[in-house]
C-alpha cells in the first residue's frame, strides 16, 4: 500500500509527540516523581514507534522502541533518574533529525550508536494520591459497594483520612461518595485502570498537586497542532457546529431561491439577512479553528532554557502561566522566533547567575498579553542613551530630551546591538528590531520596562482574534496601499503654507518638533504631481526617527485579515503582506523601512 499519502499526517503527528516529549522531559526533570509525566512520555514514545513502524521507517521505529523501553522501566518505578533525562532528550532530538530527513525525502540515518548508552532506572518512591470516588445514581446497596471498593484500594497501598470512615460505611446509610488518601507505588493511570472494571463507579477524581499540570497537558495532547506542517486538529464540537451551520445555510439558500422565484423582495431581504448572520458565524467558527494555544510556541521554551543553563552554568527557572490561552496560528507562527529571542535575552543578558524568568499570558477582551519578565540585571536608560549616542543612532539633542520609557525602546533600533543576529531555528537574523517589527506587523505593540538591578519586563500585546489588524488605507499615484494603524503616529493634512524648507529638504512642524517630509511617490518611483494645495501626511517612525510620509490622500481605515505572500515572494521587500478588501480588491501593507533599506 502506498503510504506516501499519509506521510504528511505522520510528520505532523510525530512532531506533535516529540514536542510533547520535550516539554514533558523538562517538567519531569523538575519533578522526578511525576508518574503521570512519565506515563505520558511512555505513551508518546509508543505512539511514535507504532506510526514509524507502519510507515516503514525502521530506524525511527527502533529508536522510538528504545526510548519506549527506557521509559517503561521508569514507569514501573514511578520515578525517573535526572541523568536519564539527558539521554531521553538526546533521543528525542535524534528522532527529530530522522524526521527531518524523512520530510526531505532522504534516507534515514543510522541511530544504532545512540542506543547503546543508556542509564538505568531506580526504585520508585511512594506516591500519595487524594482520591474522591463517586458511585452512579441508580446503583443498589451503595454502602456495600463502597466497602468492596475500599477493599480493592487497600491492596494498592495505604489508606488514610477516609471519609466516610469504614465504621460509618459498615453502619449502613446511603453513602454514594467517598474520599481518602492512598499512598502507594502505583501510578494514577494504573489505579484508574484497575477501577475501570467496576462499572458502578461514576467518577474517580484525583486532587494531587500534580493534577494541575495534568489536565493542561491533556489538553495539549488533544489540541496540540503542528504549525509548520499545516495541519490542524479540530474539536468535534466545532465540527458539529459546522454541520449545523451548513444545514442552516442550505435552508437559507432554499429560502432565497423561493423568494426570488416569487419576486418577494421582503423575503429576499430577510433571507439575505439570515445569510449574513450565518456567514458571520461561519467566519468566526473558522477563525476558531485557527486558534491554537500559546503553549504551541512556549512548549519548547523549557527545554531551551534548560539547555542554555546547562551551557552557561546559570540556574534559571522558567515559569509559564496562561499558556492555554489561544491565539490565531499565524500570529503564533510569527511570534515563535521573537519569543525565543526574548527568553534568550533574559537568560543570556538579563540574569547573571540565577533567577527566574516568567512568561505570563493574559487575556483581555480584545487582546492577548505576553509578559516576559526576569528578575535580573535590568537595564539602565542612561547607559542605553549613551550607547545609542556613541553608535550615532540618535543625536545629542534627542538623547537629552528622550524619556526613560523611550530610552528603553532604543534597544529595538537596528544596529544597536551586534550580538545574536542569527537565530538557530530559522536562519534569519533575529534582533530586538526584528522582534518589534514582527510584533507591529501583527498589529501588536511592544512595551519595555526595566530599571537597573530591578529586572526587565517586556510586554507584547497582540490582537486576540485572527491576524486581523486595523489598517489605514491611502492612495499614492492612483494605487491603493495600506499601513497598520499601530504604526501610524498621526495623520495630518498640511496646507501648502505649513510646508517649510530646510535646505533641500521639505519639513514641517509637529508639536514643536521639526520633522522631515518624505514623498512616497518618490520612494515608489512615481512622478510627483504639480504643487497640490495640501499634503496628506502620515506621521510615523522610520529608523527610530519621526518622519512625515507624504501620500496622495487618505481612504479611511478598515479591519482586514493580512496574508503573507507565498514564498519565495515573501522575500520581497516593501510589503508585510496583503489583504483582501470586501469588494475583492487586494491591498498590500506598505513597509517603508524595508523599501528604503533596499534602496540604500
Amino acid at each position: 500500500m502506498d503510504m506516501s499519502k499519509y506521510k504528511s499526517m505522520f510528520l505532523s503527528e510525530t512532531e506533535e509527540h516529540l514536542r510533547n516529549m520535550s516539554a514533558l522531559l523538562v517538567a519531569v526533570e523538575n519533578d522526578p516523581a511525576d508518574r503521570d509525566g512519565i506515563d505520558a512520555l511512555f505513551r508518546d514514545a509508543h505512539s511514535i514507534k507504532g506510526m514509524a513502524a507502519s510507515m516503514g521507517y525502521t530506524q525511527m521505529a527502533d529508536l522510538a522502541h528504545h526510548l519506549e523501553d527506557f521509559l517503561a522501566d521508569f514507569r514501573k518505578a514511578g520515578t525517573i533518574d535526572p541523568a536519564a533525562i539527558d539521554h531521553l532528550l538526546q533521543g528525542t532530538d535524534l528522532i527529530e533529525e530522522v524526521l527531518a530527513e524523512i520530510a526531505a525525502d532522504r534516507p534515514e540515518p543510522d541511530v544504532s550508536a545512540f542506543m547503546f548508552a543508556a542509564p538505568q532506572a531506580e526504585d520508585a518512591p511512594q506516591n500519595e494520591h487524594r482520591l474522591r470516588l463517586t458511585l452512579r445514581e441508580n446503583v443498589v446497596a451503595p454502602g456495600a459497594r463502597l466497602l468492596l471498593l475500599m477493599g480493592v484500594f487497600s491492596e494498592m497501598g495505604q489508606i488514610a483520612a477516609q471519609r466516610p470512615s469504614m465504621e460509618e460505611l459498615k453502619a449502613g446509610g446511603a453513602h454514594r461518595k467517598i474520599q481518602f488518601v492512598l499512598t502507594g507505588s502505583l501510578s494514577r493511570a494504573t489505579i484508574e485502570e484497575k477501577v475501570q472494571c467496576y462499572p458502578e463507579v461514576a467518577e474517580l477524581s484525583f486532587s494531587d498537586p500534580g493534577d494541575e499540570r495534568a489536565p493542561e497537558r491533556r489538553k495539549q495532547d488533544r489540541r496540540q497542532n503542528s504549525l509548520a506542517s499545516g495541519t490542524v486538529r479540530v474539536d468535534t464540537v466545532l465540527l458539529d457546529r459546522f454541520i449545523n451551520l451548513t444545514g442552516e445555510l442550505l435552508t437559507t439558500r432554499y429560502a432565497l431561491k423561493t423568494a426570488l422565484k416569487e419576486q418577494d423582495l421582503r423575503e429576499l431581504g430577510e433571507g439575505l439577512g439570515q445569510l449574513e448572520k450565518l456567514v458571520g458565524n461561519l467566519h468566526s467558527q473558522v477563525l476558531k479553528m485557527r486558534m491554537m494555544p500559546v503553549s504551541t510556541v512556549t512548549g519548547r521554551l523549557p527545554r531551551v532554557v534548560r539547555d542554555l543553563c546547562r551551557s552557561n552554568g546559570k540556574e534559571i527557572e522558567l515559569k509559564i502561566s496562561g499558556a492555554g490561552i489561544e491565539l490565531d496560528r499565524s500570529i503564533l507562527e510569527e511570534m515563535s522566533d521573537p519569543l525565543m529571542h526574548l527568553v534568550r535575552n533574559a537568560v543570556d543578558h538579563g540574569i547573571e547567575r540565577s533567577g527566574t524568568v516568567c512568561i505570563d499570558v493574559l487575556r483581555t477582551r480584545s487582546h492577548v498579553q505576553l509578559r516576559i519578565e526576569d528578575d535580573g540585571r535590568g537595564m539602565d536608560p542612561q547607559l542605553l542613551r549613551r550607547r545609542a549616542r556613541e553608535k550615532g543612532l540618535i543625536g545629542e539633542r534627542q538623547a537629552e530630551v528622550m524619556r526613560d520609557a523611550d530610552a528603553l525602546q532604543l534597544i529595538c533600533l537596528p544596529g544597536f546591538s551586534t550580538v545574536d543576529r542569527v537565530s538557530e531555528t530559522s536562519g534569519r537574523g533575529v534582533g530586538m528590531d526584528v522582534v518589534r517589527s514582527a510584533v507591529e506587523n501583527l498589529g501588536g505593540s511592544l512595551l519595555i520596562d526595566a530599571a537597573p538591578q530591578a529586572g526587565t519586563r517586556i510586554t507584547v500585546t497582540l490582537p486576540l482574534s485572527v491576524a486581523i489588524i486595523k489598517i489605514l488605507l491611502f492612495e499614492c499615484a492612483g494605487k491603493l496601499l495600506a499601513m497598520p494603524l499601530s504604526r501610524v503616529i498621526q495623520t495630518q493634512l498640511l496646507s501648502a503654507d505649513k510646508v517649510l524648507r530646510r535646505g533641500k529638504q521639505r519639513v514641517f512642524e509637529l508639536k514643536g518638533e521639526t520633522l522631515p517630509l518624505l514623498s512616497l511617490r518618490k520612494i515608489l518611483g512615481f512622478s510627483s504631481p504639480q504643487g497640490p494645495t495640501s499634503l496628506a501626511v502620515i506621521v510615523m517612525e522610520l529608523f527610530g526617527r519621526r518622519v512625515g510620509l507624504v501620500v496622495d490622500h487618505f481612504c479611511g481605515h478598515q479591519d482586514v485579515f493580512v496574508k503573507k505572500l507565498p514564498p519565495p515572494f515573501d522575500r520581497l521587500r516593501g510589503t508585510g503582506g496583503g489583504a483582501v478588501l470586501g469588494d475583492g480588491r487586494v491591498v498590500f501593507i506598505l513597509d517603508v523601512q524595508s523599501l528604503l533599506e533596499q534602496q540604500r
Binding site: R571, R573, T575, F588, E597
Partner: protein, 143 residues
C-alpha cells in the same frame, strides 16, 4: 495522451503540461504590489488567495508589453503564482507516442524540451528552472 497548454511569448511558442497547471484565469484585475521588481506585475485575488503575477516574457528577456487577459496559475505544495504571457491558446492533445519524440535541449534556458506538432515547434517549459528563476528574482530584489 499528453495534454499541453500552448502560449506565446515574444513571438515564440511555448507550452506547459496541463498537469503542471492549477487553472487558467480570465479577467482578474492585477493589484499594485509596492516594491515589486520589474518582472512582477502585481498580485491577483484568486478564490481569496493573494497570488503574485510574474511577467514571464520579461523573465525570458523579451520586451515589456501588453499581456493577455488570460493568465496561467501554477501551484505546488509550498507556493503558487500566476504567469502572464502574450497569448494563451487552446489545449493540445498530443499522442503519447509523439510526445516521446520531445527532445531535450540543453542550450536554451528555462526550456525542458521541444515538441514538434503540426508543423510548429513548442518549447516546453521547465518548471524547476522557472521556480528557481523566480526565487532568484525575489532574493535579488529582497536584498
Amino acid at each position: 495522451m499528453i495534454q499541453i497548454l500552448p502560449f506565446t511569448m515574444g513571438g515564440g511558442l511555448y507550452g506547459l503540461s496541463l498537469t503542471d497547471i492549477q487553472e487558467v484565469v480570465d479577467d482578474a484585475p492585477i493589484h499594485y504590489l509596492p516594491g515589486a521588481p520589474v518582472g512582477i506585475l502585481g498580485a491577483i485575488n484568486l478564490h481569496g488567495r493573494i497570488l503574485p503575477v510574474v511577467d514571464l516574457p520579461a523573465q525570458f528577456g523579451h520586451d515589456v508589453g501588453p499581456r493577455a487577459e488570460r493568465m496561467i496559475v501554477l501551484s505546488n505544495a509550498k507556493s503558487a503564482l500566476v504567469l502572464a504571457v502574450d497569448t494563451v491558446r487552446s489545449v493540445l492533445n498530443v499522442e503519447a507516442a509523439l510526445a516521446e519524440v520531445c527532445r531535450p535541449v540543453a542550450d536554451q534556458e528555462g526550456v525542458a524540451g521541444l515538441l514538434d506538432w503540426k508543423g510548429e515547434t513548442i518549447r516546453m517549459l521547465s518548471l524547476e528552472v522557472l521556480w528557481e528563476d523566480i526565487r532568484h528574482l525575489c532574493e535579488m530584489s529582497g536584498g
